[in-house]
Symmetry: D2
């Protein structure tokens, strides 16, 4: 059997790069379904030894920023996901009382025992990277590269483009601090970040994008996460609806070559006010057009709930981004993730 462990490694065999160092990206067009009929990786195929080595050279100081937020049973999440519980499964007292493993427990003079937890969770919580199978469209419910539900669905998650197909990501990372450019703590509810906003923020912070970047948009929402995002005051929910509009997503991918786009909200994209939602869906043909565009059409992964507060405070806008999702077969997203920014 061919080992899956080698998937991330064979990427280095991609050859014939354009002047911008990209193998398949075209200015004005982005990517699309250009990596072959069986591809499950999308634009992250652009990573090479050369690109990773270049990204690593950005990390000269050895300073690390932890972009992950802590998840627990109280953490804010989209209400359509199943709730989560982390439950003590084995405890030292329980192990000793239950006596289900008597030799193990009783024949040890040190009275050794252990803790473990049973988790019930959703695969779309806390800091995450949406897999290319997360969003579907059409009567045939297809996702990236045309994988259709009637062939690649199943009872135990998606059978194409699950989170195990997301390679370890090592790439140049850029924060675009839109909240900072606007001089607000966090963008207001339902704020649509446009291409003009993005360009202005980049200009203010004097950052140039390059094809192959991991682009992270800061709305400021996660300044309200606190210890584990219980959102008792409703502040996460309030700011979480700010995000990029479809035009900004297109500009980042087609004009700038963003290889992944993320932000500090649960869904990256602008969410309209309730009163405007029907018209919005009619116009954009979807309740989440940026997801349709990035995940399905372009094969560009989405980063969510990335904590960018410390980077913004330190004005660190360029860094080496690294993330490796939990490797659980079938999962639609890599969840409870701890990406890091290295400087």
């Amino acid at each position: 059997m061919k080992s899956l462990f080698a998937i991330a490694l064979v990427l280095c065999s991609v050859t014939a790069f354009s002047a911008d160092g990209m193998a398949k990206w075209q200015k004005g067009k982005g990517w699309g379904w250009v990596w072959g009929k069986q591809d499950e990786v999308g634009s992250l195929n652009e990573m090479t030894d050369v690109s990773r080595a270049a990204a690593l050279r950005l990390a000269t100081q050895g300073k690390v920023y932890d972009l992950g937020v802590i998840y627990d049973r109280t953490s804010y999440k989209w209400p359509g996901h199943n709730p989560g519980e982390i439950i003590s499964f084995r405890t030292p007292e329980g192990v000793k009382r239950q006596q289900d493993l008597p030799a193990l427990v009783n024949e040890n003079p040190s009275r050794t025992a252990w803790h473990s937890c049973a988790l019930f969770m959703n695969d779309n919580v806390a800091t995450q990277i949406d897999g290319l199978g997360h969003a579907t469209e059409g009567e045939d419910d297809h996702w990236y590269n045309g994988f259709r539900e009637r062939e690649w669905g199943g009872n135990w998650g998606v059978r194409k483009c699950d989170a195990t197909t997301i390679p370890p990501i090592v790439a140049r990372g850029i924060v675009i601090d839109v909240a900072g450019w606007k001089s607000v703590d966090a963008l207001p509810s339902n704020y649509a970040i446009t291409p003009e906003d993005v360009e202005a923020a980049l200009k203010k912070q004097n950052t140039q994008l390059r094809p192959g970047d991991i682009v992270l948009i800061r709305t400021g929402t996660l300044r309200h996460w606190g210890e584990s995002g219980d959102d008792e005051k409703g502040l996460i929910k309030q700011h979480d609806s700010a995000g990029i509009n479809l035009e900004a997503a297109r500009w980042l991918v087609e004009q700038q070559g963003a290889m992944m786009i993320g932000s500090d909200t649960s869904g990256l994209e602008y969410v309209p006010k309730d009163a405007e939602a029907s018209e919005y869906r009619r116009k954009y043909k979807s309740f989440m057009p940026v997801h349709n565009y990035l995940l399905i059409e372009q094969g560009v992964h989405i980063g969510e709930f990335h904590n960018l507060e410390q980077l913004a405070r330190d004005r660190v806008y360029e860094f080496c981004y690294m993330a490796a999702t939990a490797k659980i077969k079938g999962t639609a997203s890599g969840f409870a993730l701890r990406p890091i920014a290295l400087k």
Copy 2:
């Protein structure tokens, strides 16, 4: 409230290093409970900007090795943990049939929908790093730094030293290929790796250890993981009992300054044959003396089920090791992890 996000960052303030670059490690003694009464991090406190920058300089080629194994419902695990299921929670067809969110689903001409999964899992499965609260000992069921069950236990996992306290790890990584030194595909069942074995294997591969290393011991067990470790032939179980003995663990920590020790088995340490188990437990006072020693006494984390096959094939024995565990409060271990080795 003081932000937890900054935990990893404050480490750079540790000063007054010894000649070997370590702040607290002492040759012949290792660490222990030396980082203050409230410490939950242990030897990983030794990481600094300087040490991380040095580790990153090992990654000149940009080559990445994925050390994580894929987990699914069939994966091999210690039978004392709860089984796992990854279940399709929302599917495009289900969302459209269920009609629980009618506006979202029906008012979108593109017929957009989504996949998500509900997970039921144990926090000690697949590739992982054991937290310092995983193992306990004594009538008071204490773990690292003296945290006791009656104060820091709870219903939702451990309340000190959970996996969220494991900082992102960026350090020099070393593979010690014991199976390769023995010229076997995988070490036999119940093979005890001694300090002499470790020294001989290091000598053969011409590798020098340094204080602060992440030391990974290769038994060869994971050559049998296959796609997701269903172990239908029993080969993982067979080889999984090979591992280091207590003397090897002591040598690595006290003489060499290993900051974390891992391997390609479920528990790192040597497991005796059933017939010898009672005597072993009496002699070593525990059924898992290496866990007691590393996690509780020394504050040294343990890496488990790290896939070292590709590194061994390429004879890459020194690299930059990076791992960042899932950030879920209460968890005893960082599970389904995807550490990477950068060269």
Copy 3:
């Protein structure tokens, strides 16, 4: 091994009954820990072939009332319990797509497949009977009959008095329609039902209690359950705090010999207003003194969320009550139960 299946049956061997037909109940005292050191059944030990035959004779018409409410993911529950999900685990389409059992699925010309669900639930939801291990008190955390946590706790539920020890209940059932007596649809929030209320309601409906009865108190709360208790309007929560006070519980057990007491609320007992809660707890020494009294002191089970609406509409106050809890080891309560009233 002595079969547990026979537990319900050996009860018929209890002899030496008092004039009221009760073996151990004493007027003015009730029961208590009177059934022997190993007893896990409490007052339900009073059931005998004779008492069951008498109860069955009340059911001459063959009419059945279903007292259970439907539970789903949206159902109202005490927020301290874990949430519930019922998830399609195997579906006909999923089975056929997943191809994990190819012979089973493909070698059948009828294209047969199946549905099954995975459940994540709490054992204290919907219609239920609290087991005698549900409530604990004291520094030693003991429950009924002095079973202590340090001996009979465990990781997988209680090891004494779990729901499997609740025998099938066949007994005379009585509804006391307090809401009907008050001529209200449902009792107001935080209404404390006193012994005087109970006596007046009994008098109005011309019902006599007898030792050994299952007494069900109607507050009217479940008229708001609807299809599955989603409580979008907050009406269940509003009325759910009405219930009997400790004095009423004592009167029912000590003066009348109630063998089990239930109601149409989540907790049977009166809950004080927030402003009065601290004083109440100080006075009654517990935040749920009726639970302490019935479950721990008296060994009397509590019935919760029993739907009494149809019985009240039909003015059926006396009937044969039957209930048999789910037989799951360790559970603290018999949940999602469907008791019936036979007339």
Copy 4:
């Protein structure tokens, strides 16, 4: 909204019974889809006040037999279902340590606390009644009464014929002790019970069937359940493949009017030896033709893992059968059930 609680009650309005007391059953034909397009109840519609009253008159002694088996994490089940865990969710010590509800816990001089459990389970375990939506057939994946997956499937279980639609069952129950007739402890593996076997066993025990009966077939398998069915010796698995063949099912329904058929195995029906399975599936067009016939074609529920040992020992072949399934929306079967036989 029309209350669902009344479903069981309106059955008494069915009129125009045939001479055998059945409303819709026809000798030589059975039932089928005869109860109207929206019906989810099937043959259990035959229950009336009159039939229930007659059944209750069989219970003159007040003796109760508990037909349910105990379920826990170790219990035998068909391997295709998800495993189960019953986990202590709140414990008195945990509640006090966790301090998430400080007022509740600290302001009570009695130091009151509580136990509750989180359950992860399958809805097809232990003693159960299969719902009419459990089995499907055809390219359109339809079940009883033509309900099709594309309309009535969903993410949260079946949306027609879930276990909440199974009315409380009160009916004449009959045990047919095939193992007793054969003078064996339990029938051998893969034993096919034929109509002739059933007739001979009935004759030996001098029992007459009547239309509307709950017919329970004893193979003797559950003599090996023990405390909670861990099946360490493999005896349950060994005998569990004995069961009725399709011809016996047809005879019981079409000639005798059995309203429900159950047994003491996990699936009621005969399972062929592996070597004969392919031919069997070709001949019978399904891997479980008795399920197709009873659940889909006839609308007859199936009882599984009913413990009949005590009834057989006491030679009680006729009794009042009562069962009321857990009332959980979406579930394909009523599980962990405790039916009772009253004599």
